[in-house]
């Protein structure tokens, strides 16, 4: 569509693009308002400049947070992977462990999902694929005990990075969030010397509910980053902009498929450009 002038119709169409990308009404309107201000301040008259301004606005939200890169230079490190059901936690752990192993790190994974049918076997298969060791108990065991064992084993073996799987849980389930908080406290108590990352895995097809997910998970286990999975689909994952502007937790990794190598560092420029493609 080509526009002759900067008018309400143009902004309405841009708003549609943002909302269709799951950025949400509030954040979308905020972005548009800021762009309108800039148009006035900078006396912009060229329609072609507007898209650039919108992108600039979005990138500044995404780059706002500090520490947006995963950093495993410190050994030992521990990564706790959390999120709602089916988001892609276990798969992400498979991919991440392989990547870290290829970087020469000694990696151990802990099968902290003792609840879902065959969750342990699923992680075991990923440990075979990536060639890293796994600590697992049996189905129905106490997840906190698995994580405890993982930590002791990581210490004994001089592991660089311990990555812990957890069962999927909806954030409105109080008892399950308490269970997660207990796991988090065990990590703090038993492994204070480790650098800690708590990654919330968010499926890119998720709509506005991800904001609430991030808030509640942050309270329960102080998430330090987001992994945005399934970006290989047609969903844009724009809700992370709303998450970022509300609780300021950066996206650190993206999942782009089901294979071992389908994990990338988050690139705000690429991400924002993709929202305006196709």
């Amino acid at each position: 569509k080509s526009y002759r002038k900067i008018d309400e119709e143009l902004f309405e169409d841009l708003e549609e693009v943002l909302i269709m990308a799951d950025i949400g009404v509030d954040t979308s309107l905020k972005i548009i308002e800021n762009v309108k201000d800039k148009v006035r301040e900078r006396k912009i008259t060229e329609v072609d400049d507007i898209k650039g301004l919108i992108k600039e606005e979005m990138k500044s939200i995404l780059k706002g947070g500090e520490n947006s890169k995963l950093d495993f230079s410190k050994s030992p490190s521990i990564v706790l992977v959390v999120g709602v059901n089916g988001a892609g936690k276990t798969t992400t752990i498979g991919k991440l462990s392989s990547r870290l192993k290829n970087e020469g790190k000694k990696v151990l994974i802990a099968a902290g999902d003792t609840f879902r049918a065959a969750a342990i076997e699923q992680l075991q298969e990923w440990s075979n694929r990536s060639g890293v060791d796994i600590i697992a108990h049996s189905e129905g065991a106490d997840p906190a005990a698995v994580i405890f064992d993982g930590i002791q084993s990581a210490k004994a073996k001089g592991i660089d990075v311990l990555i812990c799987d957890t069962a999927g849980r909806l954030h409105n389930k109080v008892n399950l969030m308490n269970e997660l908080n207990k796991i988090f406290r065990i990590v703090e108590r038993e492994f204070p010397e480790a650098k800690k990352e708590v990654l919330l895995v968010v499926d890119a097809t998720t709509g506005q509910n991800a904001v609430q997910q991030a808030k509640v998970f942050k309270e329960a286990c102080d998430i330090t980053g987001i992994v945005l999975t399934k970006l290989d689909g047609t969903a844009k994952g724009g809700v992370v902009l709303a998450v970022q502007s509300e609780i300021n937790v950066p996206v650190k990794l993206v999942g782009v498929g089901e294979k071992l190598e389908d994990l990338q560092d988050f690139d705000p420029d690429e991400f924002v450009d993709a929202i305006f493609e196709g």
Partner: protein
């Protein structure tokens, strides 16, 4: 609740207008802005919202504000009626084959809840006297077959599998043969999660369909899905002509606007809802209950 109730917002908005007698275009416009926001915040698809608002506006303008109803109540009533109309009025059942077995095929994006729902459906109909068989056609996801086997064991329902080295189309066919031979009158085929834009895997589903001719093809959709629900549902429906939808994870606090979007673009009914991870947490879907949830009222 994350959002302020729409009802009270509408009340405030319309009370300010102090409209008497009839709803004017201006009253309705102001109210519709709130409704639009509420629907978008609930993840109803942008285009669906646009159409919906247009329809409600047309109906609401010029309406009498009758007796005890305030303008706000009047608008809410119209919104609710139109929403219920869109969602469908009554619950939809599973089509059973006139001569058994009935074959149900599950499909959907990765992680939506297909395997869990396969088990839940088996369990539900087993309780009603059917003899279900679960067929493991996900040969891709690590431990997918094992997952279905564990689910089957918990429910005491047999699971047919041929490992992960056989073409899923052949597994489906052999599964149905196996079920026929063993007197299973309900055969539920679990398939791998796939993206709607993955042509190869979408063709695989098409081939399973032509091979086993299921009575029911159910699209499993996560209730937390955002704007993309429309293109996902449209593509699965175009490819497979699905019979209905299962909306999962409604035990969460997502408003579930995807339900409305999917119904609006495909016309296919939502048949069941997933209300938890446990295998008995599957319920029949009642459309009118969904309207108030989506509106946050």
């Amino acid at each position: 609740m994350v959002f302020e109730g729409l009802a009270s917002k509408l009340q405030d908005t319309l009370d300010k207008l102090k409209s008497k007698g009839r709803l004017t275009e201006k009253d309705v416009d102001t109210a519709m802005r709130e409704v639009k926001m509420a629907l978008l915040e609930a993840d109803v698809n942008f285009r669906v919202v646009k159409d919906f608002i247009k329809k409600v506006k047309e109906r609401a303008i010029g309406q009498d504000v009758m007796g005890s109803l305030t303008p706000a109540q009047q608008v809410i009533k119209i919104v609710n009626e139109e929403l219920t109309e869109l969602m469908g009025k009554e619950e939809s059942k599973i089509n059973f084959a006139s001569s058994p077995p009935t074959v149900i095929m599950m499909c959907g994006l990765q992680g939506a809840g297909k395997t869990t729902t396969s088990g839940k459906l088996g369990g539900l109909f087993k309780k009603k006297g059917k003899r279900p068989l679960l067929v493991a056609c996900d040969v891709y996801r690590p431990a997918a077959i094992k997952q279905l086997e564990v689910v089957g064991e918990k429910l005491d329902i047999p699971v047919f599998s041929m490992g992960d080295k056989v073409d899923p189309v052949n597994i489906a066919k052999a599964g149905v043969e196996h079920g026929k031979k063993n007197g299973n009158d309900l055969i539920i085929i679990d398939t791998a999660g796939r993206l709607h834009i993955d042509d190869e895997l979408m063709d695989e589903l098409g081939n399973i369909k032509s091979e086993v001719q299921p009575q029911e093809i159910l699209l499993v959709v996560d209730s937390m899905t955002g704007q993309d629900a429309v293109s996902v549902a449209e593509t699965f429906d175009e490819k497979l002509d699905v019979n209905g939808v299962v909306l999962t994870k409604l035990d969460g606090d997502a408003r579930g606007g995807a339900a409305l979007s999917i119904k609006a673009v495909t016309g296919k009914p939502i048949k069941f809802i997933g209300m938890g991870e446990k295998l008995d947490q599957l319920e029949v879907f009642y459309p009118e209950r969904m309207s108030s949830r989506i509106l946050g009222m």
